[in-house]
């Protein structure tokens, strides 16, 4: 396949910081990308949402630039953002080549010297901002609580995937400024981070600048790895009432973790079940029978475990029970006979193309710098791009069928019905109401 490669050079500074440089001189911009190996999986019950609230504080100032992080970068013509998920927190800037020093200065200042800038006022304001983020993206959005209900059922209460990264509103309100300090000392230091520079920069200069800005920050002990096991051993039926017009059915299974055996197969399964009109479920439910308004299926793989999610919204006049039966027929057929050769070819062609499409941008979420850091943090190998692609190329009808059989057991799944308020009778029979807020 043409040009499907992501070359790089990597060095580790004496304080433990991994530095990766990728050259791409097409546009005079440089992407600076930092991953910290900490996410909501490192929280504990009662303190959920902390990793993400902390991310917000990283934009409010650091000891030597004790005010907002946006103005200097935007004045330089750069973009910046950050995000938190269960496993990691990332921060990035995309700046003109002329401002790479600025971006590195700022990233290193908050890595080394954040705490003196965290004031009670900033902490309170960002807590309010996050509560509003939660209202906007979950509480005030149709079906916004569904994923929270699902992860709470898939993962037991002590499992760190049991709660959503945004956290519970009560926990967010209970957080104290003192929690920030311990969190920073444990997780925010060079040996728990990875820095990638991608774009219009020479490799040697990249390493030189990394040393200049980050080299004298003290390292720290690598945090203890989180270990947790999850199991779903029976079928669970749940019900959530929401301000929605149409009932929607969610089916969820525990599935392989990121990069684990079967993870790529589940990804391909998601495609052939519900990606595009030609996929099995879209064709059957939306196109031919017209019993669903939409259907989606995807493998959400994470560091400790994954889950496979299948979602369909019922068309008026169709019950969730009918929908569930029809989905069951398609899943059963897949488990028994596997995908066809033609389906595999199609799904693999799409994957091949998308591995190239994602090499088009150096920065931002999902750009080349983000991918290199992901491979480095999760696989210890920034060069994993080729192996990653090989996982999909090497998948076979047999491996997909075996994985489907192993993962998609009807007797170990969570089925969530989301129904219009006051219409519980529209849920699957036997579904128990869950409370999420």
């Amino acid at each position: 396949m043409e040009n499907a490669s992501l070359p790089y050079a990597k060095r580790t500074l004496s304080n433990g910081l991994d530095v990766i440089v990728h050259e791409d001189h097409h546009v005079p911009i440089v992407a600076v990308n930092v991953w910290y190996h900490v996410g909501s999986k490192n929280e504990r019950p009662g303190r959920t949402g902390f990793a993400h609230l902390f991310e917000h504080l990283m934009f409010e100032g650091s000891a030597h630039h004790n005010t907002g992080y946006f103005p200097p970068i935007q004045r330089a013509g750069g973009l910046l953002n950050g995000s938190t998920n269960t496993d990691r927190t990332n921060y990035w800037e995309v700046v003109p080549t002329s401002a790479v020093d600025l971006a590195l200065w700022m990233e290193s200042d908050r890595m080394g010297y954040l705490l003196p800038a965290v004031t009670p006022e900033r902490f309170e304001t960002q807590r309010d901002v996050v509560l509003n983020e939660r209202r906007q993206n979950y509480e005030n959005r149709p079906y916004g609580f569904a994923l929270m209900a699902l992860v709470a059922a898939l993962f037991h209460e002590q499992h760190p995937y049991n709660w959503p990264t945004i956290g519970s509103a009560d926990d967010l309100r209970a957080m104290r400024l003192e929690d920030v300090q311990a969190f920073f000392r444990t997780y925010y230091h060079p040996s728990n981070a990875s820095l990638t520079l991608a774009g219009d920069i020479d490799t040697e200069r990249g390493f030189e600048l990394a040393e200049r800005y980050f080299g004298n920050l003290p390292g720290g002990p690598r945090p203890v790895r989180v270990e947790a096991a999850a199991a779903v051993t029976s079928e669970r039926r749940l019900l959530l009432e929401d301000r929605v017009e149409m009932p929607r059915l969610y089916l969820a299974w525990l599935s392989p973790a990121s990069y684990a055996d079967g993870d790529a197969e589940m990804d391909l399964l998601g495609d052939l079940l519900a990606n595009g009109k030609t996929s099995r479920l879209y064709r059957s439910l939306v196109y031919e029978r017209r019993v669903a308004l939409d259907v989606s299926a995807y493998q959400s793989s994470r560091e400790l475990a994954g889950f496979f999610l299948l979602v369909a919204t019922a068309a008026p006049g169709t019950s969730l029970t009918e929908l569930e039966t029809l989905i069951g027929i398609e899943l059963q057929a897949l488990i028994e006979s596997g995908p066809t050769e033609s389906e595999m070819e199609r799904a693999q062609a799409q994957v091949e193309a998308h591995f190239i499409y994602r090499l088009q941008t150096v920065g931002g979420f999902g750009g080349k710098s983000d991918q290199l850091n992901a491979y480095n943090i999760m696989r210890g190998d920034p060069g994993f791009f080729q192996h990653d692609l090989a996982r999909y190329r090497d998948a076979t009808i047999e491996s997909v069928t075996d994985t489907a059989r192993r993962v998609l057991g009807f007797d170990r799944r969570v089925m969530l019905s989301v129904v219009p308020r006051g219409q519980r009778h529209l849920a699957l029979p036997g579904a128990e109401p869950v409370s999420v807020s």
Binding site: E2, N3, H26, V27, I29, H64, H65, G68, F70, P71, Q74, R75, A76, G77, G78, L79, V94, P96, T97, S98, A99, D101, L102, W105, M106, S108, E124, T125, R127, D128, V129, V130, N132, E133, R135, Q136, N140, R141, P142, R212, Y213, R243, E245, M246, G276, K277, T278, R283, V286, L293, P316, E345, R346, A349, A353, H354, I356, Y357, Q360, V362
Partner: protein, 458 residues
């Protein structure tokens, strides 16, 4: 090793040189305009076909026709069913996207370079020779009607719909592309066929191709796919549509869509304001960047970073060929709704002269626009879409090169003058989609009069 000097932020070096894409223009024998850009960074080709078939073409009572017509095109062509079309795109890993705008509809396909011919030919098949079958129409329309029902639950969608209506009334710009239930239910397949026949004309369409080929090679791609496109209409001036009616002071200053117990108010504040082709455009860009267009703008810093009322607030112009609205949008904590509205009015007012831009604000706003400009030309898709925007608004091929000098020339007094002429607190319409019981009593103090209460599917 010399480590970083932490006493001050490092200086920014001189702006790096950047060569903006050179656009070549071609015209095919059937009148089709083709614009090509050599973009050689990756083996990826993007093609945009822009057709004079935006939602402004929907006549009264047929709202939703442009969008459903666009949606019907990949439902089958020749011997291929909708499933076959989807399958054919998937087998080459193509990304197919339809954007129904107010003025034009853009069909975009992105493929690997080695599949570019196949992709272009598929795109031409569906755009020029759609099957338009009754059964498909029936299904697609039903899905759209159900989608309309679902949108009533989504505060941003409800606000979008109501706000357009408040801005444009029953003008053809006054509805979302998806239309309304009554009109959609009354449409027939014949309407789609007639719309397609009338609107999909080579003499009134533009194809933009960007990818790792020469201009000739890119033109050949377009020609191979679209030379058989036969037109029935004479070329038409792509001027402003009827959208330029006299702007009168909107009778409504405050409107509410009630959403019981909503934790946030979905807020829109604005009015019809400016034309994309106005000579004031660069001043308006700087003014907006300073006031509310980005994270560091006055309004976001006030509402989010100072007060914590919202996850984020932005202002902007919803550009179109006719008069475009200037508006603020934000989701505000219910309890802070009236305070946030008052803050926004204060900022709208201040930039008109009471608190003119400081030197540092001007520098920040201009630099963020100019220094960041090259970033938007990284992928073939970005380049093709940028060039199709030039075609949409009739802007010159030198536009990209001129952008930075034009924005750089703007001074603080230009911003104040633009704000005075294009932002008018007295004409601003405020729309709240939220908990009326909780918010209602607090709105009176804003002095906007009694709110007009609208249904969720107005």
């Amino acid at each position: 090793m010399t480590y970083a000097d932490r006493s001050r932020l490092p200086d920014i070096g001189p702006d790096p040189a950047f060569t903006f894409p050179r656009i070549a223009r071609h015209q095919l024998e059937n009148g089709l305009q083709v614009r090509t850009v050599e973009h050689k960074t990756m083996p990826v080709v993007s093609m945009v076909v822009q057709v004079e078939a935006g939602s402004v073409a929907d006549s009264h009572g047929r709202e939703g026709l442009a969008a459903i017509s666009a949606d019907m095109l990949d439902e089958g062509t020749g011997s291929l069913s909708a499933i076959d079309v989807s399958d054919a795109f998937a087998r080459i890993g193509a990304e197919y996207d339809v954007d129904v705008g107010p003025d034009v509809t853009a069909f975009t396909i992105t493929t690997l370079a080695r599949f570019a011919e196949r992709g272009a030919s598929l795109l031409a098949d569906i755009l020029l020779r759609p099957s338009l079958r009754e059964a498909d129409f029936d299904r697609v329309r039903k899905l759209r009607l159900d989608r309309l029902r679902q949108l009533k639950d989504s505060p941003p969608a409800v606000a979008e719909r109501a706000f357009l209506r408040l801005m444009y009334g029953d003008h053809a710009y006054g509805h979302l592309p998806i239309g309304n239930p009554g009109a959609l239910a009354a449409l027939a397949l014949d309407d789609v066929a007639a719309f397609h026949g009338e609107r999909f004309q080579p003499s009134r369409a533009t194809v933009v191709v960007a990818g790792p080929l020469s201009h000739d090679g890119l033109r050949d791609l377009a020609e191979g796919a679209f030379s058989a496109w036969e037109g029935t209409a004479a070329p038409q001036q792509q001027g402003h549509p009827a959208g330029d009616r006299e702007v009168v002071g909107a009778p409504t200053r405050l409107a509410v869509v009630a959403r019981e117990a909503a934790p946030q108010s979905e807020l829109r504040m604005g009015h019809l304001s400016a034309h994309r082709n106005s000579p004031d455009y660069p001043a308006l860009l700087v003014m907006n960047a300073l006031l509310g267009g980005q994270f560091v703008s006055r309004i976001n810093l006030k509402l989010r970073e100072e007060k914590g009322y919202t996850y984020g607030a932005r202002t902007g112009f919803d550009w179109r060929r006719g008069l475009a609205p200037f508006a603020l949008q934000a989701s505000i904590h219910t309890a802070s709704t009236a305070d946030a509205i008052a803050d926004c009015f204060a900022e709208f007012d201040a930039i008109r002269g009471r608190r003119p831009p400081t030197e540092s604000e001007m520098a920040l706003a201009k630099a963020s626009l100019t220094r960041g400009y090259p970033r938007g030309f990284e992928t073939a898709h970005q380049v093709a879409r940028a060039v199709s925007q030039l075609a949409l608004f009739g802007l010159p091929d030198t536009y990209f090169e001129e952008f930075v000098p034009r924005v750089s020339a703007i001074q603080a007094e230009d911003v104040v003058s633009a704000a005075e002429r294009y932002i008018d607190p007295a004409r601003t319409v405020t729309l709240v989609v939220g908990d009326y019981q909780a918010v209602g009593p607090t709105l009176g103090a804003l002095g906007l009069g009694d709110p007009q209460v609208l249904p969720a599917d107005a």
